[in-house]
């Protein structure tokens, strides 16, 4: 069975939990004492991932690290419909890869500000991280605004959400913990609501469910 090395409060681990839930993949969770135990820096864990970072998965004897890499693997392996990571269209493939890289930038800014403010990473420059996150949020809000203008629901074209949406969602939604308000990003806020209404959506501490959408309501 697939095993996820997980920390509940990690947005990067949450990406994997979301994907596993959306795809309904049977798995086990190995909870790592990230804080205060720093178990991800222990020799045993470093043998799994010399970067000393979460998440890591083990599946069929293979060990894989890095949230975005794991998302790609899970989609390629377990999404029989090929909707989360469609590989038949070079344009969309390129776009998804572009937004996966963008998600890494969100992690490097919004997540760093959150770690500083919430989990006491006092050695990082949280002010620079916040400024950086706002720059990225402006870009994503602008993108999503123009998506709405052409009735595109998700970050990449198509009727279905893709890995790009999963990769960007957690640290956008957790940004307030790093002192990054989303009041100036109305299109981003609407996209967060839409994302929460994807069937199979699960929450993590810091993120609540959305209410029922209009289409799901009874008469």
């Amino acid at each position: 069975m697939l095993k996820l090395y997980d920390y509940e409060l990690s947005g990067n681990c949450y990406k994997i939990r979301l994907m596993l839930s959306f795809l309904d993949v049977v798995h086990s969770i190995e909870s790592v004492d990230f804080y205060p135990g720093a178990q991800h820096k222990s020799p045993a864990f470093l043998r799994l991932n010399p970067m000393g970072q979460l998440p890591v998965i083990e599946d069929a004897g293979m060990v894989l690290r890095d949230a975005q890499a794991i998302l790609i693997y899970l989609a390629a392996r377990y999404d029989s419909q090929g909707v989360w990571f469609p590989r038949d269209d070079p344009v969309r493939l390129g776009q998804i890869a572009q937004w996966l890289a963008f998600a890494d930038s969100i992690t490097a800014t919004a997540s760093v500000a959150r770690l500083h403010d919430g989990l006491l990473y006092s050695h990082v420059d949280s002010e620079a991280a916040r400024l950086g996150a706002h720059k990225l949020f402006r870009i994503l809000d602008e993108h999503l605004y123009f998506c709405e203008q052409v009735e595109q629901t998700w970050i990449c074209p198509g009727d279905q959400p893709t890995l790009a949406d999963i990769a960007c969602f957690p640290y956008v939604m957790l940004s307030e913990e790093g002192g990054i308000s989303r009041i100036d990003y109305p299109a981003l806020r609407r996209w967060c609501d839409r994302f929460k209404r994807i069937p199979g959506f699960v929450v993590m501490p810091g993120i609540f469910h959305a209410g029922p959408g209009l289409e799901a309501s009874t008469v």
Binding site: F146, Q149, I183, P186, R189, P212
Partner: protein, 550 residues
């Protein structure tokens, strides 16, 4: 910032920002707003603060009819912003004065407008009135600086700058309609304005940042601070409403739609009733049948009573669309708990009316319930459209004999469960039968909630006694033929009341000492046995003296 800016209209969102089931977060002159569109299209602009514990309502849930706070699940109604439910106290009807701060809202020219004290007409946009709403551009700079920088931008665009805070603004632009492709136009201005934004922000950063504006937090009503909340409304006609629709919804049953032409109707909760002051001077109580969030009108269902004393017959025969009526604000003496694992509604005839409102509330929240409707014939089944919308939750029991009704009730109540609650309303024999059967089957008194429409007990007004008002330190004598309520009123004490026949529960009062002669049908047997509450309109004292908690 000059204070008179608060009387101006400012755009705070594009119309397209308010998608269904979403709560938009806005800010104007330092104050934050939660802005949401209900499923009926109404745009609500509220202070972004639940008045319970200050949590932003923009992280709450818009269910299309009500906004639910994320912290404690308090529900606030569309339009009125009145609190309809406090889950921590499921048996209580929230005080009517628990109401969020709302602000004037207009939707025009593709924009949502508000202002803390805005009134009058919106600014005249001239040839831009039908303009294309550009993508709003938020920026970190004072509004005056932004406005100055926009001068000379492009005469085909009209700008409105939203002053969010002392150093935060939003550029909102309307472009003159042109032949140019809309998307192209949006992209062009978006790009140009973002360039300008970066320039303005650079300029703002080189100056001292002004202190953020501090909005004044308005106080909640004084009576909300001391608990429990006391009602202080007497039998008054608070509002004038107009009948905007009257239709026959079943044999001998009409439904009236009542709207206020002058003001927003007060918040109601499921189970609430209003007093209807008829033109012939009679006052009658009717339950509201509205679903949650239907706050632009009230609906009531009125059955023609065979022995009508002039109430229902007047409504059926003489009231017409366009007539004005005086009504009281809604009162809720039949509150709906929403913490039951399952709720069983038992309606008989026109007793369906309060239960219809309750069941709609549970249905919208996705809570489990069963609805049993006992009715003489299919043609007499009112509100069948609403009942059919509950699908398999609804069961009709048509034309059953008293015996068959008892058997059916025995079956419905055959499995007492401490996590269930029963609400029953209908003719007196059926109510009595339901209560008896429930008791026999092992249901607790506290689980069976009922509402009598009238008290058919013969009221005994014999004998006199004294009442001591514990908190007011007064003593009065209630003589033969007088009610406690009348004596209180004549001594200037404003005790609320409604039916004044011992059925509705409005005039209830705490009793500290003395033996009560209960003559009402509102209190449960166990409440009567406790002897600490009295219905002052009909009940009396067996002892020489009653000490009342007022």
């Amino acid at each position: 910032m000059t204070p008179n800016l608060h009387s101006h209209w400012f755009p705070i969102a594009s119309s397209t920002d308010l998608v269904p089931r979403h709560v938009y977060q806005a800010q104007l002159l330092g104050r934050e707003f939660a802005v949401w569109r209900a499923d009926d299209g109404y745009v609500n602009v509220w202070e972004n603060r639940c008045l319970h514990r200050g949590v932003r309502l923009s992280i709450g849930i818009n269910d299309g009819r009500e906004l639910k706070c994320q912290y404690h699940g308090w529900r606030y109604a569309n339009r009125t912003a009145g609190c309809t439910y406090i889950p921590a106290h499921p048996a209580d009807a929230p005080a009517r004065t628990i109401c969020n701060n709302t602000y004037p809202a207009r939707e025009a020219h593709g924009l949502i407008w508000t202002g803390e004290h805005a009134s009058g007409s919106l600014p005249d946009l001239g040839c831009f009135a039908d303009g294309i709403v550009l993508r709003p551009i938020p920026l970190n700079a004072p509004a005056e600086m932004v406005s100055e920088s926009l001068e000379g931008y492009d005469s085909d665009v009209f700008f409105l700058v939203q002053p969010c805070d002392s150093n935060r603004s939003i550029i909102r632009g309307l472009a003159k309609p042109s032949k140019r492709d809309r998307l192209d136009l949006l992209r062009y201005h978006n790009f140009a304005l973002q360039e300008l934004r970066d320039h303005i922000e650079g300029q703002a950063a080189s100056q001292d940042t002004p202190e953020p504006l501090v909005p004044i937090i308005s106080q909640v009503a004084a009576e909300l601070v001391d608990l429990p909340v006391l009602h202080t409304i007497g039998r008054q006609a608070d509002f004038t409403v107009t009948i905007t629709n009257k239709e026959t919804v079943a044999e001998d049953v009409v439904r009236l739609r009542l709207e206020s032409l002058t003001s927003v109707l007060p918040t109601f909760q499921p189970g609430a009733h209003i007093d209807l002051h008829l033109q012939n001077g009679l006052v009658r109580q009717y339950s509201l049948t509205n679903g949650p969030g239907e706050t632009d009108h009230y609906t009531i269902g009125v059955k023609r009573e065979i022995e009508s004393r002039g109430g229902s017959a007047t409504i059926h025969d003489h009231l017409r669309v366009g007539d004005n009526l005086a009504i009281s604000a809604p009162r809720n003496n039949f509150p709906l708990r929403r913490d039951a694992v399952r709720t069983i509604f038992i309606a008989g005839g026109i007793g369906v009316t309060p239960l219809i409102s309750m069941a709609q509330a549970l249905n919208v929240q996705g809570l489990d319930f069963a609805f049993h409707y006992f009715v003489q014939s299919e043609t007499r089944a009112a509100f069948s459209q609403e009942l059919h919308a509950f699908n398999e939750a609804t069961t009709f029991h048509i034309n059953l004999s008293p015996h068959a009704t008892s058997e059916e009730l025995t079956h419905i109540l055959s499995d007492p469960n401490p996590t269930y609650h029963i609400y029953v309303c209908g003719p007196i024999p059926m109510l009595d039968a339901t209560r008896k059967i429930a008791k026999k089957q092992g249901w607790d008194d506290e689980q069976v909630h009922f509402e009598y429409f009238k008290n058919t007990n013969k009221i005994n007004t014999e004998g006199s006694f004294e009442i001591d008002l514990a908190r007011s330190a007064c003593t009065f004598t209630v003589s033969e033929g007088q009610s406690i309520l009348e004596v209180l009123r004549s001594n200037g004490i404003n005790m609320p009341s409604s039916c004044e026949t011992g059925a509705c529960g409005t005039c209830r009062c705490g009793v500290i000492a003395g033996e009560i002669d209960h003559q009402d049908v509102y209190l449960t047997d166990s409440e009567k046995a406790k002897g600490n509450t009295i219905m002052t309109c009909v009940s009396r004292s067996r002892s020489d003296r009653l000490i009342l908690d007022i």
